[in-house]
């Protein structure tokens, strides 16, 4: 089958992401990656929980004193909404509506960039308070966990942007449908991790 073959909405398969052998392999391989990423983040969460509010230095900085909920709430809502907009993008992908898919992906990218901007502002604020990466065991564990998530956001955004630009003139076909689908899966996974970060790090941190 020619991967670059043109399709219409009527000939477009119901599940284009797994319609080819390549798509099927990517799908299985990508979920295996997500399972491995779950373990990666678990080890970072476990480290954070073990070292939360621990020194030896910098004991003036505690989770309860440092974190502020309004900013975290805004970040949570933005990332959650971006998860929905990528669902819309995949809805249009399945309907073979390339322009609508690109538009929703564009909105997803804008929301993601806003999230990343707020996170950079937050980290910058902490560093100005004197809470840097090497201040305490707590600060290292915090920045490693939340920073790794932020790096995933950055990677997800670059992935979306690269796909959108690379395929802007190509339209949807069997070659790129699995790519768009997996990028959207990755984006949902980033939101899954954030659900635990806002609960375990911020909400449980503010409680003390």
């Amino acid at each position: 089958m020619d991967l670059n073959k043109r399709y219409t909405a009527q000939s477009w398969p119901d599940h284009p992401e797994t319609a080819t052998l390549e798509g099927k392999n990517k799908f299985v391989g990508f979920w295996l990656l997500l399972a491995a990423e779950t373990v990666t983040f678990a080890s970072l969460f476990a480290t954070y929980l073990a070292l939360k509010d621990r020194g030896p230095d910098g004991s003036e900085f505690t989770a309860a004193g440092l974190f502020e909920l309004p900013l975290v709430f805004a970040m949570t809502m933005i990332l959650l909404t971006s998860s929905l907009t990528s669902v819309y993008a995949m809805y249009h992908m399945k309907n073979h509506n390339f322009k609508a898919m690109q538009a929703w992906l564009g909105i997803t990218v804008l929301l993601g960039l806003t999230f990343l901007g707020l996170e950079i502002y937050e980290f910058n604020h902490y560093v100005h308070l004197g809470f840097g990466y090497t201040t305490s065991a707590f600060s290292s564990a915090f920045f490693t966990l939340v920073g790794t998530h932020g790096a995933h956001v950055l990677f997800g955004l670059s992935w979306f942007i690269a796909l959108m630009i690379r395929n802007s003139k190509r339209g949807l076909n069997m070659y790129n449908a699995p790519k768009f689908y997996l990028a959207a899966l990755y984006w949902h996974f980033i939101d899954v991790v954030w659900v635990f970060i806002f609960t375990v790090v911020y909400l449980m941190g503010v409680i003390g």
Binding site: M1, L3, K5, A9, Q10, S11, P13, D14, H15, T18, A19, T20, L21, E22, F27, V28, W31, L32, L34, A35, A36, E37, T38, V39, F41, A42, S43, F45, A46, T47, L49, A50, L69, F73, T76, M77, L80, S83, L84, V87, Y88, Y91, K94, N95, M174, L185, H188, F189, D191, V192, V195, F196, F198, T199, V200, L203, M204, V206, I207, G208
Partner: protein, 110 residues
């Protein structure tokens, strides 16, 4: 890959049926999203209201778990057909994740 997907052009009726099915699915996704927003609001409100930590922590962890299940099963389609193998991967990952957190936390706390 020469012949793994013979091209199939759907009849008009079949096409309309699939389109309708997808838009129904999309409405369900919107419902999931509304539930997720609602759960998030409850979690933040409980913490802002300053209830006892012993009450809040189990509840917000439960809310997070429900939200993750919604993401995995609805947004990421884990419950759909053909997701058996990948669901097995994911549950294995979660199991190892749980053991990892349990081990590190108990070593440090006890």
């Amino acid at each position: 890959m020469a012949h793994d997907t013979p091209e199939k052009i759907r009849s008009h009726a079949e096409h309309e049926y699939l389109k309708k099915k997808r838009s129904t699915e999309m409405r369900h996704q919107l419902t999931s999203f509304a539930i997720m927003i609602f759960l998030t609001l409850i979690a933040f409100t409980m913490v802002a209201a300053g209830f006892s930590a012993y009450l809040i922590v189990p509840i917000i962890l439960l809310l997070a778990a429900v939200q993750v299940v919604l993401q995995l099963y609805h947004f990421m389609h884990l419950s759909n057909k053909g997701h058996g193998t990948v669901a097995f991967f994911m549950f294995s990952g979660m199991f190892v994740a749980f053991i990892t957190v349990l081990a590190l936390v108990t070593i440090v706390w006890w």
